[in-house]
């Protein structure tokens, strides 16, 4: 794994929406290959916007977004805040979707689809439709769908925000295990300090709208991380530091972009 060329590079990126809302930036950002980075910020600060720009779902108003291998379909996996599954399709077909769109024949795709469903613990639910699943299971389907193309970069937009704490903790651990096993670059958007510190190598704290990066924390923790880390004083101390930075960012006085 080379660290020379970053997986994601943002230079002077801003986004102004049609209505004149300055949502983001200017933002400069390098995300190394294989890194687990969290974007942390108050609601409405432009986190989703940043993620959509990285995914290429929206174009920046100014600046440049470079994503390694982004031209290859399936190189970027995206998990939305809601599960965003096709309600008419079975779990299997939902996960098959990215491969189907890439022209992979059903027979050739099924082993990969099934392996990924087993990976997220849904091997017994391949024929279920989304409404027959719990919220956490839907989220795992969404995760499996993002992973099935073996993307280089995984973009997650507050994927576990709507879940209860127990489920969230379990999915956090699942995600960490996936990251360790598969070595993807992960950009994780959240508004939870605790989640960001627990999961990531690096936490980027954003200011209120228009979002810029106000502080960067390199999180030190044992590898692999687990429940022991979550209850350690070390973890608590780092959460406190990030929290303080977030509170400071929230009342940033230099909000020149707001109209």
């Amino acid at each position: 794994m080379t660290t020379a060329e970053p997986a994601v590079r943002l230079r002077g990126v801003t986004k102004v929406y049609d209505g004149g809302v300055a949502a983001l930036g200017p933002l400069d950002l390098d995300i190394a290959r294989g890194a687990f980075v969290s974007l942390l910020g108050p609601s409405g600060c432009g986190k989703s916007t940043a993620l959509r720009l990285i995914a290429g779902l929206a174009a920046p108003s100014t600046g440049a977004v470079e994503v390694a291998r982004a031209a290859a379909p399936g190189a970027v996996g995206f998990v939305f805040q809601e599960p965003t599954l096709m309600p008419w399709a079975s779990v299997r077909d939902n996960v098959y979707l990215p491969l189907r769109l890439a022209g992979v024949a059903r027979r050739a795709a099924m082993p990969r689809v099934e392996a990924m469903l087993a990976r997220v613990g849904l091997a017994d639910f391949t024929e279920a439709v989304p409404r027959e699943l719990s919220g956490g299971m839907k989220m795992r389907v969404s995760l499996a769908r993002a992973l099935v193309t073996e993307p280089d970069i995984l973009l997650l937009d507050e994927p576990f925000a709507a879940l209860d704490e127990i489920t969230r903790f379990r999915l956090n651990n699942d995600l960490l295990a996936l990251w360790r096993d598969l070595g993807k670059t992960i950009v994780f958007v959240t508004h939870s300090v605790f989640e960001s510190v627990y999961l990531s190598q690096r936490v980027l704290v954003m200011t209120a709208r228009p979002g810029r990066i106000s502080a960067t924390f390199a999180i030190a923790g044992p590898e692999p991380r687990g429940e022991a880390f979550r209850t350690s004083p070390d973890y608590a101390a780092q959460c406190r530091a990030v929290s303080a930075a977030l509170a400071g960012a929230g009342e940033d006085p230099s909000r020149e972009g707001v109209r």
């Binding site: 995914a55 290429g56 379909p73 399936g74 970027v76 995206f78 965003t84 008419w88 979707l97 439709v129």
Partner: protein
């Protein structure tokens, strides 16, 4: 909601029939007590007897009307869905041509029918009328449905570089199915109405032998019981069409859409 979930409670099945029986008895009593002659108001027994007695004629007419209805409905479905798909591919096409669909919709078909009967062979004109009436709900519902796919799912398809065709086939079309089914259910009943209206217009022009023509003809001959019998057949045909389409809709949507799910699911 309609075909699937209902009917579990016995009262829901029994009550409508009880109400029907009561109104039939009331009808019969009114006719008997007032000693009304059949050309003013035939009793239910006489209507039924006429239905049986004239069955050969009425059945033939019903078949003709149903064929017209079905052809009009099929044409409306094919053309409506095709246009909706085109509109979903190009906003410009939609802006250019949707107004004409609205014009066709707001112009009463009874006013268009005589014109069509001049320009087209009779059977084709009648089918066209049925189609015109049924076409708008198909088009407008399908257009709405095709445009209401989840925004994030559309984003996902973009992310995976889906072609227009793939987006239509795997996302927009299935997402539109509930709306399309709703449109078809309305269109089924409307195409029957369109067929009847056109038959009446054509009947005045001379030939024709559909059920509506029978009604008009019986009217001229003051054969009121037969009018009632034909009317009864028309209503039953309408109900059957609606229920058949509701059933199709239920079968298509049953696994995933809220409208087709029982309460306890």
């Amino acid at each position: 909601m309609t075909a699937g979930a209902g009917g579990r409670h016995p009262a829901r099945l029994v009550l409508p029939f009880a109400a029907l029986a009561a109104s039939l008895v009331a009808w019969d009593l009114i006719v008997r007590l007032n000693d009304l002659p059949p050309y003013v108001l035939p009793g239910p027994g006489l209507v039924l007897a006429t239905l049986v007695q004239d069955w050969a004629i009425l059945w033939q007419s019903l078949a003709i009307t149903l064929v017209t209805t079905f052809e009009g409905f099929a044409a409306a479905t094919v053309i409506g869905l095709a246009l909706a798909v085109l509109f979903s591919q190009s906003k410009w096409l939609e802006y250019c041509f949707f107004p004409y669909a609205v014009i066709l919709q707001v112009t009463p078909v009874i006013a268009i029918a005589p014109l069509l009967l001049i320009y087209l062979p009779q059977q084709l004109a009648v089918v066209t009328c049925a189609g015109i009436v049924a076409f708008f709900p198909v088009l407008s519902n399908a257009t709405l449905g095709l445009n209401s796919a989840d925004r994030n799912l559309v984003g996902l398809f973009t992310l995976y570089r889906a072609s227009r065709w793939q987006t239509l086939r795997y996302l927009r079309w299935p997402a539109a199915l509930p709306a399309i089914m709703g449109g078809l259910r309305i269109a089924g009943g409307l195409s029957l109405i369109g067929a009847v209206v056109a038959e009446i217009a054509a009947g005045a022009a001379g030939s024709g032998s559909g059920l509506a023509y029978r009604i008009a003809e019986s009217g001229y001959r003051l054969n009121i019981p037969r009018m009632f019998a034909a009317l009864l057949l028309l209503s039953i045909a309408g109900i059957v069409i609606y229920m058949a389409l509701a059933l199709v809709s239920h079968l298509v949507l049953r696994r995933w859409h809220e409208s087709a799910l029982g309460k306890d699911m």
